[in-house]
Amino acid sequence: MKLIVAIIQPHRLDAARQALTGIGIEGMTVTEVRGYGRQKGHTEIYRGAEYQISFIPKLKLEVAVADSRLDDAIQTLGTAARTGKIGDGKIFVLDLEQALRVRTGETGDGAL
């Protein structure tokens, strides 16, 4: 199993979720994060003083998938999250050693 960790633009969440459910991936976990990268932050000016906001709001999606679904999932997610603008984000893949559904105790692919 693999854990896909995707950093995306907040407003692409619905598109990403729909795309994933479209290919039968029905579980995911979302975290509000702030990112720093090539897309620079912005400046806010209050009463003539400049405040540098370096970190930009992003969402992190974590999706555990069976090995067989990995490529499909990455592909789908990448397409759904893309706007073509700088700051679209990243998709990272980690190896997932175990997975367990708390409610039932199921493990492995069946837990996803």
């Binding site: 209050y46 009463r47 003539g48 003083a49 405040y51 906001i53």
Partner: protein, 405 residues
């Protein structure tokens, strides 16, 4: 004889001016600081209001508004001993109890204005000590000089609702406290933006409404004078807001909400001394000027002087109050203005004297007070507490516990 209409209005105005401190100013200032210091700012406002109320009862009112010596009132009204249930304040048609309460709300908000200078790094004990001493050593004497029959009153100074007594004293003192206290350790480059601009706007809105009580209440009656003060106050605020917005729009490309409401406060502070003496055209003019001048005032303190007067008390209040106090004689010439009892330039000299003397006295006394606080309770929290935030460090609380669970 007590007039019930006048009394009705001044009781209401008293409520409005209390509202200006609690919660209006608290929200205005609280939204401008970081989330980790929000409660401390609210606590400052709340505690200053309480300390100054009790001091006003003990001796403040007596020393400001009893007797007729040049420098300070007398002790006839310590513990409000001469205030009777039916007693009328001389020169008005309202009960003395109402008059002293109305004045008390001014004595509360003036030291509370200074809070903006020292937020995010001061010890809570120092807030209490400085505010208490400041009330007695700066506010009370100056109020006596200008409104209590003191030497500036004798010279004919005009200060309708406190451009000098409130805004110049607070603004100058704020700078002095900030300078002695030193900058927040992140100043100027690592300072975080206002954590809740919406809160700043709510505070400003309530300040605006409350200011009707402040300025129109200073008529001490419900009639044409109060009405004109109301009108002038509102127009100055509205105009200054638009001017500040225009400046930001031109200069930074976007008009900000925090900027707009800062303009409002600038317009309100500026019209305060003039409100009961001028008509609507003058109010619009002064409002427009105050937008420009206070904008520059803020930049001056922040960029040129590099003093961390964190929430711009001098730039907005001090500069605005002085501006209105100095221009007042000229502004009476426009429609709806009162007739001056002397020549304009003569009146201007009196106004300048009053602004200058008040500024000097405020600076000297505040420096002394701050040094006393430094030597006794201490001024600043340590670096770690500043990093953690005063909410937890000084009050053991957290402003926001929104987390699920």
């Amino acid at each position: 004889m007590i007039n019930s209409g006048d009394t009705a209005w001044i009781i209401t105005a008293t409520g409005l001016v209390l509202l200006m401190t609690l919660p209006a100013l608290a929200l205005f200032y609280g939204g401008l600081v970081q989330a980790k210091n929000i409660l401390s700012v609210l606590a400052h406002c709340f505690a200053v209001a309480c300390v100054c109320s009790v001091l006003w009862f003990l001796c403040g009112y007596s020393l400001a508004f009893s007797g007729s010596s040049a420098w300070l009132g007398d002790t006839a009204n310590l513990l409000l001993a001469s205030v009777t249930r039916g007693g009328v304040r001389a020169g008005t048609k309202i009960p003395e109890s109402v008059y002293l309460m109305f004045q008390m709300t001014f004595a509360v908000i003036t030291p509370a204005l200074i809070i903006g200078a020292y937020v995010e790094r001061i010890k809570f004990g120092a807030v209490l000590l400085i505010s208490g001493l400041w009330l007695l050593l700066v506010y009370v004497p100056v109020a006596h000089w200008v409104w209590g029959g003191g030497w500036l009153a004798t010279r004919g100074v005009m200060d309708y609702a406190g451009g000098i007594v409130v805004h110049v004293t607070a603004g100058v003192s704020a700078l002095v406290v900030a300078a002695i206290l030193g900058c927040r350790h992140e100043f100027p480059h690592g300072i975080r933006p206002p954590h809740a601009p919406w809160m700043v706007m709510v505070g400003a809105s309530l300040l605006w409404v409350g200011w009707f009580g402040f300025n129109a209440g200073s008529a001490l009656s419900a009639g044409g004078d109060a009405g004109m003060a109301l009108l002038a106050t509102h127009l100055s605020a509205a105009t200054a807001t638009l001017v500040w917005m225009a400046i930001e729009w031109i200069k930074f490309g976007k008009p900000s909400l925090v900027g707009a409401v800062t303009g409002t406060i600038a317009g309100l502070a500026s019209i305060t001394p003039a409100s009961g003496f001028v008509g609507p055209e003058a109010a619009v003019l002064l409002g427009a000027l105050s937008g420009v001048v206070c904008f520059l005032g803020v930049l001056l303190v922040k960029r040129v002087m590099q003093v961390d007067d964190a929430l711009d008390v001098l730039g907005v209040h001090g500069v605005g109050g002085a501006l209105g106090s100095l221009l007042l004689p000229f502004l009476t010439l426009l429609g709806g203005g009162v007739a001056l009892s002397r020549g304009i330039s003569e009146q201007f000299m009196v106004q300048a004297l009053a602004v200058g003397a008040t500024a000097v006295w405020s600076a000297v006394a505040t420096a002394l007070i701050t040094k006393i606080a430094a030597a006794t309770v201490g001024l600043r929290v340590n670096r770690e507490d500043e990093t953690i935030g005063l909410d937890f460090a000084a009050h053991g609380e957290s402003g926001y516990h929104h987390t699920a669970r």
